[in-house]
């Protein structure tokens, strides 16, 4: 499936959803849907998207939190799946946009192309609600689950190895932080 369409589908009618995106392609994907203060985009700190989402989910247990990151970023911090499983935050969903490539650095194959099954790794880490989604119709059905307080949950979206044009959100981390905090009131 096409990654921008998949991310736009997940974020349709997002309501109170708080979003953390991993550096690289998924930050451009989330920005392409529309910039807003309740998006916290990582421009660095590869491997940290899931821990950021975990800290946020624990701090804001009444709001749904979605981490959207890439397969390479997820692999760099894959131990954090066990950390999430140990906390069992009901309001946290993790979605990996998996093109099996390191798209920002020349499209080198990631471990997801070389035998690693990320949904299986999440399940084995203790996140039992873990699925792989192959098409847009399934993603559209999955969207409602992002708002259900019965997580943590994990999904891999298998997307085509394309690199759509960058859509750049603000890049000042301090600005992104302050406006996110202000948006929570």
């Amino acid at each position: 499936m096409e990654r921008r369409a998949a991310v736009a589908s997940l974020l349709a009618a997002r309501g109170p959803l708080l979003v953390v995106s991993g550096l690289g392609g998924t930050t451009w994907d989330v920005a392409a849907v529309g910039d807003e203060p309740r998006n916290f985009y990582l421009w660095g700190g590869m491997g940290c998207a899931v821990p950021v989402g975990l800290g946020l989910a624990l701090a804001q247990p009444s709001r749904p939190v979605l981490v959207i990151t890439g397969d390479g970023e997820m692999l760099m911090g894959v131990g954090s799946l066990a950390t999430v499983a140990a906390q069992r935050p009901a309001n946290l969903a993790i979605v990996v946009v998996d093109n099996e490539r390191y798209g920002e650095t020349g499209g080198q194959l990631s471990h997801a192309a070389l035998g690693a099954d990320l949904a299986g790794m999440a399940r084995a880490a203790g996140i039992t609600d873990s699925v792989t989604l192959e098409d847009l119709a399934t993603v559209a059905q999955y969207r409602a689950r992002l708002h259900e307080a019965s997580g943590p949950r994990f999904a891999v979206l298998k997307v085509a190895p394309e690199s759509p044009p960058m859509v750049l959100p603000p890049r000042d981390g301090v600005l992104l932080k302050q406006r996110f905090r202000a948006s929570l009131g």
Binding site: L42, G47, C48, G55, A59, Q87, K177, R181, L184
Partner: protein, 175 residues
């Protein structure tokens, strides 16, 4: 002589964390932090979060701050080497508040030579990354020091490390 066994300072440190409204305690286990970890795990007002590696702590506490909660990170000196990029590219880039309570190995009566190189690197690495680094070698200094560093971190959105000296904690015995 193992002053870590002195009754009281982990309890007093836990009281400091409570007084500072710390709600998330990320940790990578260490013998020096054993009692404090137990106290935080037993505290219903705290999320005590075991991490698989220290760099998860930068993400966790950044996310906590985004969501309006204060945190602290408990770790060992060797873990400083594990979180260099996260400290630079997340904590400092976003000016997230961070206080790391780092128990030192490899500097005072150490019996494991593999601990010495990282121990020597801890302060220069952290200072190069722009963190304020303070040491505690005596139990009576620990409360004031940690309270001051926490208050400063949260009010100025800055990062600091408190190094708990091996002289304070006592060296691990290999026999």
């Amino acid at each position: 002589m193992n002053s870590a066994a002195t009754p009281g300072w982990p309890s007093r440190l836990h009281a400091v964390l409570r007084a500072q409204a710390v709600r998330q305690v990320g940790y990578v286990p260490d013998a020096g932090h054993r009692q404090l970890i137990e106290l935080c795990r037993a505290d219903p007002d705290m999320h005590a979060v075991p991490l698989t590696t220290e760099e998860e702590g930068m993400g966790l506490l950044g996310g906590a701050w985004l969501g309006g909660q204060r945190g602290v990170l408990l770790m060992q000196s060797s873990g400083v080497g594990n979180c260099v990029n996260a400290l630079a590219s997340l904590t400092q880039a976003c000016r997230f508040p961070l206080v790391m309570l780092v128990t030192m190995r490899g500097e005072w009566g150490e019996g494991n030579p593999w601990q010495l190189p990282m121990a020597r690197a801890v302060t220069p690495v952290l200072e190069t990354l722009g963190l304020r680094v303070v040491r505690v070698d005596h139990a009576e200094e620990i409360e004031d020091t940690v309270a001051a560093m926490l208050a400063m971190a949260y009010t100025t959105e800055s990062a600091a490390a408190v190094l708990l000296g091996q002289r304070l904690l006592g060296a691990k015995v290999f026999q």
